[in-house]
């Protein structure tokens, strides 16, 4: 009886200590991109944020314990058009003087009916926090993995280019964000 109690107590301690996170991963920045597509004067263009950091904890066999925490340096925006980039960082758009970084954190991972993994999370961008759903594709290759995530955002939800710039025929409202990350397993 006493032994049994000790055994149960030990198991209980292990259970408390165990919410050790899932496998964590380091981003290989040289082989990872954070891009987005949008339209300008109804012509599609692609841009990217060259600097971002992320804490990635992910185990495909245990997505309940997965967690992404991402920080994006907005001033690293590059749409291959210097005038557009300069304007985009200004007060009418991203306003990096006031809001230099964007943050994204997952709150829950789940599987959809067709077996895809999605993450619910919150994006804080230009001082506005909104729920965002991320489609997640994780492909492990031993000690490395590729992680592709996609989200659909609306720029006007975050107050990016409101007022005279709200017209979607000038700048489309819908933005598709795509992260392609090469990961190395943390030791």
């Amino acid at each position: 009886m006493r032994r049994a109690l000790i055994a149960m107590g030990t198991l209980g301690l292990l259970a408390v200590a165990a919410p050790a996170l899932a496998q964590t991963w380091q981003i290989d920045a040289a082989h990872s991109t954070l891009t987005f597509t949008n339209t300008y004067q109804n012509v599609e263009y692609t841009g990217q944020f060259r600097r971002f950091t992320a804490n990635i904890a992910y185990d495909p066999s245990d997505i309940a314990r997965a967690k992404f925490d991402v920080k994006v340096d907005i001033s690293s925006l590059d749409t291959r058009n210097s005038e557009r980039d300069h304007a985009a960082l200004g007060p009418a758009f991203f306003d990096t003087a006031k809001f230099p970084d964007a943050y994204f954190a997952t709150t829950r991972f789940r599987k959809t009916a067709d077996g895809k993994v999605v993450a619910d999370g919150e994006l804080k961008l230009r001082g506005v926090t909104r729920p965002v759903v991320l489609e997640v594709q994780f492909v492990p290759h031993g000690d490395t993995a590729t992680l592709d995530v996609t989200a659909q955002l609306k720029r006007l939800d975050f107050g990016i280019g409101t007022g005279q710039w709200a017209d979607p025929s000038m700048i489309g409202d819908g933005v598709t964000v795509h992260g392609h990350l090469l990961l190395h397993a943390s030791k």
Partner: protein, 190 residues
């Protein structure tokens, strides 16, 4: 109305090309000089888009005009015109053609190197002349576009000055035949 040019004067098509392109160039010069002073607003973006659309239109019209000119004769110069004036006129006309081709092309080049959209009057997308963003060529293309514009302004001053001199000084047909076509031809109205 006679479509083709004759010994005595310019046909209707050449005159239409001349005055239509002249009007577009005048509008383009005013728009171009104004738009660069504008603050960044959606209106500025729309005025730039208009400038690009008119520029592409001029380029297309000039190509059609050159093709048409190659297919027909040139009216005779006034008999009293000395040889140096004929040569000077041909040199100015040839340079004007070269400029009104090169200016829209250099604008298109600048736009391409800037990775900016080019949608003809919002209707269809025109591909770029560079492989996307070309920061090395961008300032060079802009400098070329602006320099050629001011060369055009100088040559147009000569061209307009010469036309007025023919009309009011020489009192010959040179300006009139570009405005109202050949005079005194059989089958033609007054």
């Amino acid at each position: 109305m006679r479509l083709r040019s004759t010994e005595a004067g310019w046909g209707a098509l050449v005159r239409a090309f001349h005055w239509l392109i002249a009007a577009l160039i005048l509008a383009q010069g005013i728009i171009g000089l104004t738009m660069v002073q504008m603050g960044l607003t959606p209106a500025k973006v729309r005025v730039f888009a208009l400038h690009k659309s008119i520029g592409v239109t001029i380029l297309a019209l000039v190509l059609l005009r050159i093709a048409w000119r190659l297919s027909e004769r040139r009216p005779a110069d006034p008999p009293a015109m000395p040889r140096w004036q004929r040569r000077a006129a041909r040199a100015v006309h040839g340079s004007l053609y070269a400029l009104i081709l090169a200016i829209p092309l250099s604008g298109w080049w600048f736009n391409s190197a800037s990775n900016a959209p080019l949608v003809w009057f919002g209707l269809f997308d025109i591909p770029g002349l560079t492989r996307g963003y070309a920061p090395f060529w961008k300032p060079r293309a802009l400098l070329l576009h602006q320099t050629l514009f001011w060369v055009l302004v100088a040559l147009l001053a000569l061209h307009v000055g010469a036309a007025l001199w023919h009309h009011f000084g020489q009192r010959d047909d040179v300006l009139r035949r570009m405005m109202i076509g050949p005079r005194g031809q059989t089958g033609e109205g007054p």
